[in-house]
């Protein structure tokens, strides 16, 4: 039984011990793919000093699609009001990767979409499962993250985006 507690304890200690360092955590530079399968380096993600949402999703993940389709309806307003940019990272592997572009276009998403077929970026961002959403401030720091989605979560996310856009701290 004591062994069960070891990883929990370990994670908790590190979690609290290194919290302070996370304030300046930047997006790790990992080689993933554009929708046309050409390479894209995540170190190049930027939005001219405006906030960025990074959302990990997959074509087989219903809550992910619910989240991104919900935000899609309000995305134009979000962009107008705060300049935010949403980057959708598909973790679909070789089984479904060919269905990503038709789905994105079919749903008329205006997001930047990249492919992470072998989960390299997912691992570097420490994502356990999708949907997982990150918020990046104007300086490129990861300032907030959220796992899973249920209706209404997009409102909380947008309130945080508004705070970031007006220069407030969200912590």
């Amino acid at each position: 039984m004591k062994y069960i507690l070891l990883p929990i304890l370990f994670a908790t200690v590190l979690n609290t011990g290194i919290q302070a360092q996370n304030d300046g955590r930047q997006i790790p530079a990992v080689e993933i793919k554009n929708l046309d399968s050409s390479p894209f380096n995540t170190g190049d993600i930027q939005n001219d000093g405006k906030p960025i949402i990074i959302s990990f999703w997959a074509t087989w993940c219903s809550p992910c699609k619910r989240e991104l389709n919900t935000i899609a309806e309000e995305y134009i307003d979000w962009q107008d009001e705060t300049g935010v940019k949403l980057i959708a990272i598909s973790i679909d592997d070789a089984r479904n990767i060919q269905k990503v572009k038709p789905y994105v276009d079919g749903q008329s998403w205006d997001y930047e979409v990249y492919l992470d077929p072998n989960a390299d970026f997912k691992r570097a961002m420490n994502v356990n499962n999708v949907p997982h959403t990150f918020l990046i401030d104007g300086e490129g720091n990861i300032v907030w993250q959220h796992n899973s989605y249920q209706p209404g979560d997009e409102q909380e996310l947008y309130e945080l985006v508004e705070k970031l856009a007006s220069g407030e701290s969200i912590n």
């Binding site: 039984m1 062994y3 069960i4 070891l6 990883p7 929990i8 370990f10 994670a11 590190l14 979690n15 290194i18 360092q21 996370n22 955590r25 930047q26 790790p28 530079a29 080689e31 046309d36 399968s37 050409s38 390479p39 087989w60 993940c61 219903s62 619910r66 309806e73 592997d93 070789a94 089984r95 990767i97 060919q98 269905k99 572009k101 038709p102 789905y103 994105v104 276009d105 079919g106 749903q107 008329s108 077929p117 072998n118 989960a119 691992r123 961002m125 420490n126 994502v127 356990n128 499962n129 997982h132 993250q145 959220h146 796992n147 899973s148 249920q150 209706p151 209404g152 979560d153 409102q155």
Partner: protein, 569 residues
């Protein structure tokens, strides 16, 4: 070969922590970012013979994982701690060889287009038909390499990768050594005047070789087996076309009955999409393409390549876990079509918010093979039910197959349609129908004719207020084979952003054996706070098949409490 025993694993871990702590004192840690995640799944088991739940002497199982990654500038290092006390039912018992340890650790640095990794790593060449190492924790699958890898881009548009290593085999390493090389040219990056061209082209090629000692086998076993793949991707405006061909030299293994036939496979896919419309058509054929770094390996162990199923990955319970297709690496041919169309909002049929229709068709069959009339009893068993025979198989090739032959045996069919409509700002409805034909004898080794199943699903989402919502699912599956008809109902109450309460039941009301007409009720409460998620459930879990990609894991029936915790930091 032992990958890591408890002491070695913990030594690695504690040296990692010691380095961090001592570096902190010496201010070496300035600028170092440490982050990671945690994932725990625990299950408690009650006796429940009617659903066929296995008796677990320990009465519980726990799988837990912690990843830690430290980065500073060009450097990155990481460890993963895993523990199985004992493994959750349905995961390979060999995970229980250690209660806790560090099966994954690496260090890497990147400089001027050169990336070097030493230790454990994951890699994929092209679509993975010739090489893919990856982790799918939910399946208990991890074929990570342990060795060294170099990725290099000498000039824009040229990408080279090379690697060497053994693969993870539970708490040990596989016997085989894998050496692999991949090159890719992105023409639009390489030729600067093509950088803005609407036509985008890339080509790539891989070579993979494995070495495993022949051991004491009476056969003349090739110790080095080579394989390779070539691929292209072409995009022009709204169109794209891609293809990959893979080849494997003769590789007698346990799973192909030690035949000396070479293997091959191809995958091709065409896509057209524009706003509100997308279509994809894919074709695939593989023959004797199972490529593992140990010729004696079975199950999902020690695969070098990845051969996903060419079918829709369903998400609704009855459609996803009763009759999911699993790739047949020894031979199959398939076609898939996938279409999405969004009827414009404001139109008469589309309604105020638009209506989305998705159609998907997949068909997978055997190759018709010509078998040699072999006298070897080991092979003869396999050949008993084959109709065609060639003369004696002196070179032990097993059979003749044509990659483009559409064989007569149906492995899988799935015709499905999904319609999704938002009626007003507080109500959405999604209807799904699927017809599946499933070769249960081939995939689940159950003596039966093909299962023909019809599945209806209706899902609704009612938003009660800004933070409160109710989601529900009603599912119905009918079939004359296997376990007969099922109904499934689910209600989920969401209180954003922290709480989800789910109650579900499934009922095998159509089972021919009246004693097995069983209910499987489950209740679950989930609490979410930012990147922490904690979920506690109680109920019955139906035996089923859990799949990711074309790879599946049998989940045995269970009755008891479940606890899941995930966290990222």
């Amino acid at each position: 070969m032992k990958l890591t025993n408890l002491n070695l694993g913990l030594t690695t871990l504690f040296s990692f922590v010691t380095i961090i702590v001592s570096a902190q004192d010496a201010h070496l840690l300035d600028g170092v970012q440490i982050h990671g995640n945690f994932d725990l799944y625990a299950q408690q088991y009650n006796k429940d013979s009617i659903i066929g739940a296995p008796i677990v002497p320990e009465k519980s199982g726990v799988n837990a994982f912690t990843n830690l990654i430290a980065t500073k500038g060009k450097f990155s290092a990481g460890v993963r701690l895993e523990s199985y006390i004992p493994p959750v039912q349905g995961f390979d018992p060999r995970f229980g060889e250690e209660t806790i340890g560090v099966p994954f650790r690496y260090a890497s640095f990147t400089q001027d287009g050169l990336e070097i990794t030493v230790g454990n790593f994951y890699e994929q060449f092209g679509n993975g038909m010739i090489l893919r190492s990856y982790e799918e924790r939910g399946l208990g699958l991890d074929n990570a390499f342990d060795g060294a890898r170099v990725r290099y881009s000498p000039i824009d548009g040229i990408y080279i990768k090379g690697l060497i290593g053994n693969q993870r085999f539970y708490w040990q390493k596989g016997d085989g050594i894998v050496r692999a090389f991949d090159g890719e040219i992105q023409f639009n990056e390489l030729v600067s005047k093509w950088s803005t061209s609407a036509l985008r082209l890339s080509i790539g090629g891989s070579f993979v070789s494995k070495f495993q000692s022949g051991g004491s086998s009476s056969l003349d076993i090739p110790e080095n087996v080579g394989g390779g793949a070539a691929r292209f991707q072409l995009n022009y405006k709204d169109f794209s076309l891609m293809g990959e061909y893979a080849f494997k030299d003769n590789d007698p293994t346990k799973s192909n009955n030690y035949i000396y036939k070479s293997g091959e496979g191809f995958f091709a896919s065409a896509t057209y999409s524009r706003r509100g419309f997308g279509i994809n058509i894919s074709a695939k054929s593989i023959d004797n393409m199972e490529f593992r770094s140990d010729r004696e390996a079975g199950f999902n162990d020690l695969f070098i390549n990845y051969l996903p199923a060419l079918s829709r990955q369903h998400t609704y319970n009855l459609a996803a876990t009763l009759y999911p297709y699993a790739t047949q690496p020894n031979g199959e041919i398939g076609l898939q079509g996938d279409l999405i169309y969004k009827i414009k909002k404001g139109s008469k049929i589309g309604g105020k918010y638009g209506t989305t229709i998705q159609l998907n068709v997949s068909m997978i069959n055997s190759h018709d093979r010509e078998y040699y009339a072999d006298s070897d009893p080991e092979v003869a068993v396999e050949l008993l039910d084959q109709q065609t025979y060639l003369p004696k198989d002196e070179s032990r090739l097993g059979y003749k197959a044509n990659l483009f032959n559409w064989g007569s045996e149906v492995y899988y069919r799935d015709y499905n349609i999904e319609v999704d409509r938002k009626f007003n700002k507080n109500f959405k409805l999604k209807g799904t129908f699927a017809f599946q034909e499933y070769n249960i004898e081939l995939i689940q080794f159950k003596a039966s004719t093909n299962v023909l199943a019809r599945i209806w699903v209706l899902e609704g989402l009612n938003k009660l207020s800004r933070k409160h919502s109710i989601r529900w699912e009603a599912q119905h599956l009918t079939t004359g084979q296997d376990q007969g008809d099922w109904v499934f109902g689910l209600i989920e109450y969401g209180y954003s952003p922290h709480w989800i309460v789910t109650v579900l039941n499934q009922y095998n009301y159509g089972n021919k054996n009246k004693d097995l007409r069983v209910n499987y009720p489950t209740a679950q409460v989930t609490y979410i706070h930012n990147a922490n998620r904690l979920s506690l459930g109680y109920g019955r879990q139906r035996a089923g098949i859990f799949c990711v990609g074309g790879v599946c894991r049998n989940v045995p029936a269970a009755n008891g409490i479940t606890l899941a915790i995930t966290s990222s930091f």
